[in-house]
Amino acid sequence: MSIIYFLIGCSVLLALIFLGAFFWAQQSGQNDDLYTPSIRILLDDKESEVDEK
């Protein structure tokens, strides 16, 4: 059953990586504006096609 020590070590390490990723995202301002990207994704980049309408 000593494998438990290893498994717990792995799971905690993995969880810590995710926690670190969350901190990173938070500090780089990823969660500052949660609304605008939902509009931005609906806009086209290629304006030439729409111009003809």
């Binding site: 059953m1 438990i4 020590y5 717990i8 905690v12 969880a15 926690l19 969350f22 901190f23 938070q26 500090q27 969660n31 500052d32 504006d33 609304y35 605008t36 509009i39 931005r40 609906l42 806009l43 086209d44 304006e47 729409v50 111009d51 309408k53």
Partner: protein
């Protein structure tokens, strides 16, 4: 296409307003004005007509075309506005009120198509904010703003950028603390389960291993996530105040110490999961209570309303000068639609000053040469020249901000329910804890200590600390849905405790431009001229309304003119005797039963009917006035008492209404009410109410557009919701009742827990069940009860 009036109703391709002529058109597209047309032209030239394909009529109306951004070349102003600058790039963020649809977003993020000097532009839709990174060597700030102006997105530039400051305030920090607490809580729960389900004898090694891991996970929870509770409890202790953070901090500390001792001495499993769960839920309670409104600011003062700079005449040359450097004696030029920033004497030009921001009165006031014009008015019409007589901060209006009401921290003295209760709670808690310690001490020291710590753990007022935040969070979102925006959760409790309501008149209980005039009886063109000729000489608002109604007519020479204040006008024009005024004045009749204000006309002894003037009060004014059975109602108006007769139906007695009140008078009036022990709610709108709003226990600013300027206050109410005021007041009382009920529930849980604790036999399992159970009960009870109360008051 021929010029002239459009026969079919067409709407402007750019802004959607009705086109009155068809003289503005490009590519078969109709525009209402040359401003809109030119925006289209600019966009078409840059191949950005996509703008019009995402939404119909996305643009802002551009009837006004006057650029005035010269002040943006002043280095001190540039430095104040830029967020960041080095020799290659500059970053600036603008607040652009017109941002409202996806087209706006799309166009503003294409700024570099107009000028490659823009490296990057990003919109934050909810904050209506645009961040631009650009090269200042190739494009000046002024050019950037002019570019934005040209495409119809004029930024609102003000030196007191409160919204920016609010955004800077720490908000991310609590999210990180919750993340850490949640992370540790989850892991500790997982590691504690084996203990609760029972470990066989050969698994005892794991037990210690799990125990040590739990201690390790508790460390960040106590010292990172829970740190603020210790800090706050300590600060309050030094101020000799016992607030709810003290028992919380005590609970956290005892939980942690007992866990560490039990685990290292192998005497038990400790309470690590209860500890982590406690901190996690407490922080969540804190988080939900923070409500941020992205584009509403409660802290605005005159600076966010005044322009950044003003044009000063130096040796006949105009030069933009920042407002802070404006000195008395300087000559300033104010153009159409510009705001007069300091008290000044009119030297040149025709001044028609609109004081609607200051007083709520929308009709522009005519000023004569040599007259002092108070700061805060907006000039309409031609450019005028003025000499500054008082500096900006010493002007009639702005000196209000020097009053101590603005410097003092707002401490209304009214403690929240939590603050009042927690003092007694702590005393009882400590009494029980020491009682059980003393009871067991003679028999068994270990059991005494166990009982002592268990009491502190179980009684840790987690549910109590959560009941207020969750109730308030639910209440705030309900107010929010009804267009009533509160600054913070404490405002709800203040609202429930109010017993006096003071209202401003213009703009608060009346709509901005709401009076209508009705003519009864026929007048010939000549008679109309006579009436016009008499009224044009009077500055009385009713006369001005009549003149406006009759329209510009040619003035007839007046031979004799006399105005009897509060009664009417006697005039002699050509050979006609004209009598205009109240019923009393015209007929010598003292019958006062007429509900509406009426102006009667008598020309050459012949009665020719009357003008009836209806003041439009906001919908539901009747219901608000009915509050006087529960509350003391007062009306505090800056205007003269012209409307007094009309207001009698709302405010029964004479000493409920006060007229001709200066901003300082209003503040003093509130103060005198407070000295009598009343708890005062002030409802106002203009800058002139700012002092009263600040002084009152609860200041509510009423506005017809929340994006517009509103003075600093505790709450901002959309004019449409004014009629719901009685519901809001009742609902705030419901909310406080719900807090009381949830306090009773949390006390019940505490009593159950205490019955285990005093015996010294609190098992970690019971604590681990009791704590989340009470938390969940409180959260669901408060949320459900608040929504039910809102439904009962018809707020959802």
């Amino acid at each position: 296409m021929t010029e002239g009036t459009a026969l079919i109703k067409t709407t402007c391709y750019h802004c959607g307003d009705e086109c009155l002529t068809n003289s503005f058109s490009i590519d078969d597209k109709q525009f209402c004005c040359s401003g809109c047309e030119s925006v289209y032209h600019i966009l078409a030239d840059s191949g950005l007509c996509n703008y019009y394909s995402y939404n119909d009529h996305p643009g802002a109306n551009r009837v006004r075309v006057d650029k005035r951004f010269d002040y943006l070349s002043d280095p001190t102003i540039i430095n104040a506005l830029l967020d960041y600058a080095d020799d290659r790039i500059s970053i600036v963020s603008f607040y652009i009120p017109h941002i409202h649809c996806s087209s706006c977003l799309w166009l503003l993020e294409q700024l570099n198509r107009f000028n490659p000097a823009v490296h990057y532009s990003r919109v934050d839709f909810l904050k209506k904010q645009l961040v631009v990174r650009f090269d200042q060597n190739q494009m000046s700030l002024q050019q950037l703003v002019e570019q934005l102006y040209d495409i119809g997105y004029e930024p609102l530039i003000s030196l007191q950028d409160v919204i920016k400051e609010q955004n800077k305030a720490e908000k991310g920090n609590i999210v990180q603390r919750i993340a850490v607490a949640g992370f540790c809580f989850g892991n500790v729960m997982l590691l504690s389960f084996p203990e609760y389900f029972g470990l066989s004898s050969y698994e005892q090694n794991f037990k210690h291993f799990f125990g040590y891991l739990n201690v390790v996970f508790s460390l960040p929870v106590v010292f990172f996530s829970g740190r603020e509770y210790f800090v706050s409890a300590w600060n309050n202790l030094r101020k000799r105040v016992l607030n709810i953070d003290f028992p919380l901090a005590l609970g956290i500390a005892v939980l942690f110490l007992r866990t560490v001792v039990e685990i290292f001495t192998h005497t038990g499993a400790g309470f690590a999961d209860t500890l982590c769960g406690l901190v996690f839920f407490l922080l969540i309670g804190k988080f939900v209570q923070q409500k941020t409104y992205h584009h509403i600011s409660f802290e605005r003062d005159y600076r966010s309303f005044f322009p950044v700079a003003v044009n000063v005449l130096v040796n006949d040359i105009e030069k933009p000068v920042p407002l802070s450097q404006l000195q008395t004696g300087q000559r300033i030029i104010i153009r159409n639609n510009e705001i007069i920033p300091a008290d000044a004497i009119l030297l040149k030009g025709q001044a028609m000053v609109d004081f609607s921001f200051v007083t709520g009165e929308s009709i522009p006031v005519n000023k004569t040469l040599g007259e002092v014009i108070y700061a805060g008015g907006r000039q309409t019409g031609e450019a005028i020249e003025l000499e500054v007589v008082k500096s900006v901060s010493q002007s009639y209006l702005t000196q209000l901000w020097n009053n101590e009401a603005f410097t003092r921290q707002k401490d209304t003295g009214a403690k929240t329910f939590n603050e009042r209760v927690s003092k007694y709670f702590i005393i009882v808690l400590l009494a029980i804890a020491f009682g059980s310690l003393l009871f067991w001490l003679p028999f068994n020291v270990g059991r005494g200590l166990a009982a002592f710590t268990a009491v502190l753990i179980v009684a840790c007022p987690c549910a109590l600390a959560l009941s207020t935040p969750f109730t308030m969070a639910a209440a705030l979102s309900i107010f929010d849905r009804n267009l009533f925006y509160l600054k913070n959760a404490g405002v709800v409790e203040h609202m429930a405790s109010v017993d006096t309501i003071v209202m401003d008149k213009t703009g608060t209980i009346t709509n901005g431009d709401a009076n209508s005039i009705e003519q009864k009886g026929e007048l010939t063109r000549f008679q109309r001229q006579l009436v016009y000729g008499a009224c044009i000489n009077s500055m009385h608002p009713l006369s001005r309304m009549i003149c406006e109604y009759l329209g510009p007519l040619s003035k007839l020479p007046v031979k004799k003119y006399e105005e009897i204040p509060g009664k009417g006008i006697v005039a002699r024009i050509e050979d006609h005797q004209i009598l205009i005024g109240s019923r009393e004045f015209v007929f010598n009749d003292v019958n006062k039963e007429f509900k509406t204000t009426a102006v009667h006309i008598l020309i050459d002894e012949k009665y020719l009917g009357y003008f009836s003037i209806k003041h439009h009060y906001r919908d539901g004014m009747q219901d608000v006035a009915a509050l006087d059975s529960i509350y003391q109602l007062y009306l505090l108006s800056g205007d003269h008492d012209y409307e007094k007769n009309d207001l009698v139906r709302f405010f029964k007695s004479d000493n409920q209404m006060y007229f001709s009140q200066s901003p300082q008078d209003k503040l003093d009036f509130i103060q005198s009410l407070q000295q009598k022990g009343n708890r005062v709610m002030m409802i106002g709108d203009g800058l002139n109410d700012s002092g009263a709003l600040k002084q009152s226990d609860l200041g509510i600013a009423v506005t017809d557009n929340v994006n517009n300027f509103s003075p600093g206050s505790d709450a901002i109410m959309d004019g449409k919701s004014f009629k719901k005021l009685p519901c809001f007041l009742r609902f705030s009382k419901d909310t406080v009742n719900i807090i009381h009920c949830s306090f009773a529930i949390s006390l019940t849980y505490n009593l159950i827990g205490l019955s285990y604790a005093v015996s010294g036999k609190l098992s970690p399992l019971i604590a681990a069940i009791l704590m989340p159970l009470s938390t969940v009960t409180i959260i669901s009870f408060t949320t459900l009860a608040t929504h039910l109360a809102a439904r009962k008051r018809k707020l959802i």
